[in-house]
């Protein structure tokens, strides 16, 4: 499918989801949907560096928080419309992503992962001690009750996150099918061979960290308006780091579809668990699912589907055989 057509389909699906939530007439769906969409952006962003290039980033929460805190800083300086704040959050996180990439991309594997984790710790310490954005006390963001023509402000936030999710998915799909995507795949497979084939690996990795960081920051920018009160422990929460890794791993990391499926599945499960059991079981669900998938389907849901397609006999023979078994006949 052509990219413009893909974008159009995404927008139509997004409009349908927004319309459905609107028709249900309960703002809870917007609150819950916002979180799921936020995870779609985060997991898609993580997958650009982690899935396409094979560099595991444990610092997702840091980029998310950078976006959120750039909104808080701008709120204090000069309140701006949220779309502008999203762009600012993206720029700030993108620049930090680029710098982090330059400092750490000579590391590989566990060493790179630890360096990204260290970045999150350093940034959190910085924010905790930065009084202007509330420091350890936190900061209040007073959001308007309603906004024309959506009514409740959460609907507007939901729409922004929906557009961000569509944008992130479109970017990921574009990368996957481009020269850049091929370059990322060679970095994931064999960096030495990639260099020997003329791939400028360092430059490509910097592009990946910048895009990934920027998208995470964009996901974090509207967060202070969603939560109303932002403190370091909520912005740098473990949930973001764990979920943004677990969701692509469960969905599948080699394609843009994987993080989308993972985020919808895990994000929805967590929302259901929050209202039916307790919000405390969220990470337990993620952990159990992750362990299960690592054992049963290390390539995620997408990997399982590919495996099924490859092993399915031509002409649906497999299905007929199963039916025959079920009725007791010899296959």
């Amino acid at each position: 499918m052509r990219s413009d057509l893909f974008l159009l389909v995404c927008l139509i699906v997004g409009a349908a989801i927004f319309g459905a939530a609107f028709a249900l007439g309960n703002d809870y769906y917007f609150f819950a949907g916002y979180v799921v969409l936020q995870y779609v952006v985060l997991s898609t962003a993580w997958n650009i560096l982690g899935g396409y290039c094979g560099y595991v980033n444990f610092g997702s929460a840091a980029f998310f928080a950078l976006g959120a805190y750039s909104t808080v800083a701008m709120y204090k300086l000069a309140p701006l419309p949220i779309p502008v704040l999203v762009i600012i959050g993206g720029i700030v996180s993108g620049i930090v992503g680029l710098c982090m990439g330059y400092l750490t991309l000579r590391l590989r594997g566990a060493f790179f992962a630890i360096a990204t984790l260290a970045l999150a710790v350093v940034l959190q310490t910085f924010v905790v001690n930065w009084g202007f954005v509330g420091g350890s006390r936190g900061a209040y963001i007073i959001r308007p009750e309603a906004i024309w023509p959506f009514g409740a402000y959460i609907r507007y936030l939901f729409l922004i996150m929906m557009l961000l999710a569509i944008g992130a998915i479109t970017v990921a799909r574009l990368i996957e099918r481009s020269r850049l995507g091929y370059g990322f795949a060679t970095i994931r497979d064999d960096e030495l061979a990639a260099e020997a084939s003329g791939v400028p690996t360092l430059r490509l990795k910097l592009i990946a960290t910048t895009i990934s960081g920027a998208l995470m920051g964009m996901a974090g920018a509207p967060f202070p308006y969603y939560i109303g009160f932002l403190q370091p422990s909520s912005a740098f929460g473990l949930d973001y780091a764990v979920n943004s890794i677990a969701m692509p791993l469960i969905g599948g990391t080699t394609s843009w579809v994987g993080p989308l499926i993972g985020a919808i599945l895990l994000g929805s499960l967590q929302q259901i668990a929050t209202v039916t059991i307790s919000s405390a079981v969220n990470l337990l669900i993620v952990g159990l699912l992750l362990v299960g998938f690592v054992i049963v389907a290390p390539n995620g849901i997408i990997g399982l589907v590919h495996k099924y397609i490859q092993h399915r006999p031509v002409g649906g023979v497999g299905r007929r055989r199963v039916e025959a078994d079920a009725t007791g006949h010899v296959p």
């Binding site: 020269r179 091929y182 370059g183 795949a185 060679t186 994931r188 497979d189 064999d190 030495l192 061979a193 990639a194 260099e195 020997a196 084939s197 003329g198 791939v199 400028p200 690996t201 360092l202 080699t254």
Partner: protein
């Protein structure tokens, strides 16, 4: 053609250490355009380190590498590939998640395109198939490298190096572990490539292959070059005999 113009690769007093271990000790080497050079030496003699320093995978601590008139010191591996310096690896390193055709697409889109040659998607596709046909792998264009046999993997490695349209190809033990007939296949492939104007440095332990292929033979022992010249003369050199057979 002047001597300088005829020289494609010039390695001057190259030195490389790993801690206290001297891997390369003042190596100098000159390769002319279109030449077929064999590079031999016992295990640990520094052959692969020399290749890695020439190709930019390792940075040399002393000396210089000049390729096609351009000094390469400090240039990254991908920049050297783009200048026309290709290599294969001792152990094949295919891009495991990409099909055979896509493995060849990488040097075409990243190296050939960087030289200003505009190619349509269809032309790139065509060139991939052409290269795969040349090494006898066109029927498996859509397969993944894991479906290949050992010799096919070596051929894919060579095809990927060829896709970068090199001026100089360094084949690092491309025949290791292959049967007699498979060695002949790879040799024929390298000869065809050389006939097309590509200069080749062959690193190999199979002496029969090296002797039939090389116009000139260079011998490394313990990081030092001990012989450089006509293959038939070099193999009778007492120092070379000592290095291979002992005192």
């Amino acid at each position: 053609m002047t001597a300088a113009a005829a020289e494609l690769l010039a390695v001057d007093n190259l030195g490389k250490r790993f801690g206290g271990f001297v891997a390369l000790d003042n190596i100098s080497l000159s390769v002319r355009r279109g030449e077929r050079v064999g590079l031999i030496g016992p295990n640990g003699s520094g052959k692969s380190t020399l290749v890695n320093c020439i190709c930019g995978t390792l940075q040399n601590e002393a000396g210089s590498v000049t390729f096609d008139g351009h000094p390469l010191n400090g240039a990254s591996a991908h920049q050297r590939t783009r200048r026309g310096l290709s290599r294969t690896f001792q152990l094949p390193r295919p891009f495991a998640s990409l099909s055979l055709a896509d493995n060849l697409r990488i040097p075409l889109v990243y190296t050939v395109a960087s030289r200003g040659a505009r190619q349509s998607g269809q032309a790139i596709e065509g060139r991939c198939v052409e290269l795969l046909r040349e090494v006898g792998l066109d029927a498996k264009a859509k397969n993944l490298p894991r479906d290949l046999t050992q010799v096919e993997m070596r051929k894919l490695e060579l095809a990927r190096a060829m896709a970068a349209e090199p001026k100089l190809l360094i084949a690092d033990e491309s025949m290791a572990g292959l049967t007699h007939s498979e060695v002949e296949e790879i040799l024929a492939l390298l000869m065809r490539l050389n006939a097309q104007g590509v200069t080749i440095i062959l690193i190999e332990h199979i002496m029969r292959a090296v002797m039939s292929f090389s116009q000139r033979l260079v011998v490394l022992v313990s990081g030092r070059k001990i012989a450089d010249g006509d293959p038939n003369v070099v193999v009778r050199d007492p120092e070379v005999e000592r290095a291979y057979l002992g005192q």
